[in-house]
Amino acid sequence: MATVEERVKAVTAQVLKLSEEEINNEDNFTADLGAESVQSIELVAMFEEEFGIEMDEDAALAVETVGTAIEFITNVCKEQGVDLEG
């Protein structure tokens, strides 16, 4: 099964119309990947669908980089009992 990192990058690539290879963990969604505010909303929605989780909007939208998104989503999955291994 794909890792959290791979899945986050796949969703980001799909929403922002990029290729996964272009996306690095240090990239800032806005400054480096060009996410507009509407796309941030879309990213949150798509991450929730991808991982089957519910994220607090304020906390989720405060996440700035791909690396922190991976960390944030991993934590939310743990909190909400979502299996990331299977």
Binding site: S37, I41, E42, A45, M46, E48, E49, D56, E57, D58
Partner: protein, 426 residues
């Protein structure tokens, strides 16, 4: 004699959403003012107490001087307990007299007149129990006064109510300032311009088919046309508006473009061009430039409205526009379908297409779907900013009320978000 307004059961209140999400039914407007003003005038007392849903009690206490959800008001005095859906004009029960409970065909209590001596009988720790006990202990009278059933009833009754309220106010003439050239069509007896109101040059006031009342401090800017019956609230500004017949505009609104047979609560803005017709707009609403609603279907059939995210209700009228809850904002170019329900605290970003007919409260409508957007925290911040610009305070009690509304409206919002996600995943 003490008048006690008791808000209707939740099921009946739902017929007045999204406006009644954040206010008791008697704070809805029709004609010059609120339903409460009309009921109080009809009953003829200044001693008024209120029972509202618990979640809005704190916020409502900040808005009125009378007691709210205080059962001590049930003691000792002659009481007239009234359901706010009863139309003031049709209520012909004497305020005082022997105790009796007015019950409709379905067995619902519409009023209870309880003489002071009898108030000791029912238990007083809960208003619902008090009314139920009064009904059991006191003589019941069958009654069927005219009642408001749905929120669009208020829209449809508004022109007639303005005319009645103008007659009841008994004022006419110009006490404010009118700069020339300005044209008044019809009888000047059907126009009242209150002290402090300003009518700038190049304004047409057309009272041929109904009265026009411009309240204190209102400002009518050049190239506005106001057609009666019409009420312009205190300190509101018309910005070159085509204000057609049947509008009630609340306190401190900014209104431009074309508006017809609509009710707008205080502090709302429709500054720019765009058509608003047969609409009911809450307070602190901002309609972006070119926001337009349809109020008539192409096939002239009756308009249905979705009030709870489920099935539509046939209004029986061919003309119903939008219902827009408090603090909702629309972007430029928003197109609202006939009979649209736009909840409170919603953010609408137009796509160029007409919106879905039902958008739940606290929704962020983005890219054609309902989303969670930036969440309710951001909406509260915006509300706070909008209110501070008009020197009004966003209080803790108000926020607590909105938190409750957020929870109450969560099921329909989640459903709409899910639907949006499915579209997104395609």
């Amino acid at each position: 004699m003490r008048l006690i307004l008791v808000d209707s059961p939740e099921q009946a209140r739902g017929n007045f959403y999204p406006l009644a999400l954040s206010r008791p039914l008697w704070e809805l407007r029709c004609g010059f003012g609120s339903l409460a003003e009309k009921l109080i005038a009809r009953v003829g007392t200044e001693d008024v107490a209120y029972f509202v849903p618990d979640y809005m009690a704190g916020a409502y206490r900040e808005k009125v001087s009378g007691p709210v959800n205080d059962t001590s008001v049930l003691d000792g005095n002659d009481l007239l307990i009234l359901d706010p859906r009863v139309k003031a004009d049709g209520f012909d029960v004497a305020s005082t007299g022997p105790s009796e409970v007015g019950v409709d065909e379905q067995g619902e209590v519409l009023y209870a007149r309880i003489a002071g001596d009898d108030t000791g009988k029912p238990a007083k720790d809960d208003i619902e129990k008090f009314i139920a006990a009064a009904r059991a202990a006191l003589p019941n009278v069958k009654c069927s006064p005219a009642r408001w059933q749905y929120i669009w009833d208020l829209i449809l009754a508004n022109p007639e109510q303005i005319t009645a309220d103008f007659a009841a106010a008994g004022r006419s003439g110009i006490e404010g300032t009118v700069e020339q050239p300005c044209t008044i069509r019809g009888s000047k007896a059907d126009v009242y311009i209150a002290p402090g109101a300003q009518v700038h040059p190049m304004v047409v006031i057309d009272a041929e088919h109904g009265p026009v009342y411009i309240d204190e401090g209102a400002r009518i800017q050049p190239f506005s046309r106001i057609e009666g019956p019409c009420y312009i609230g205190k300190e509101s500004i018309l910005v070159g508006a085509n204000c057609r017949e049947g509008n009630s505009i609340g306190h401190a609104c900014r209104v431009g473009g074309e508006v017809e047979e609509s009710i707008i609560h205080g502090y709302s803005n429709k500054y720019h061009d765009g058509f608003l017709g047969h609409a009911y707009v809450g307070e602190w609403v901002n309609l972006g430039a070119l926001t337009t609603n349809s109020d008539l279907k192409n096939d002239y059939s009756t308009v249905s409205v979705i009030l709870d995210g489920g099935g539509g209700i046939d209004t029986g009228s061919t003309k119903v526009g939008s219902l827009i809850g408090d603090h909702t904002k629309t972007s430029i170019g928003t197109l609202l379908n006939t009979g649209s329900y736009i909840g409170a605290m919603a953010i609408i970003m137009a796509t160029g297409k007409p919106l879905p007919k039902y958008i739940p409260s606290f929704s962020w409508f983005v890219e054609g779907i309902v989303t969670k957007g930036f969440g309710k925290g951001k909406l509260y911040e915006t509300a706070k900013t909008a209110m501070s610009r008009r020197k009004c305070e966003w209080t803790a009690a108000e926020q607590a009320m909105w938190e409750a509304v957020f929870e109450m409206t969560s099921p329909e919002r989640k459903k709409a978000i899910k639907k949006g996600r499915r579209t997104l995943m395609k």
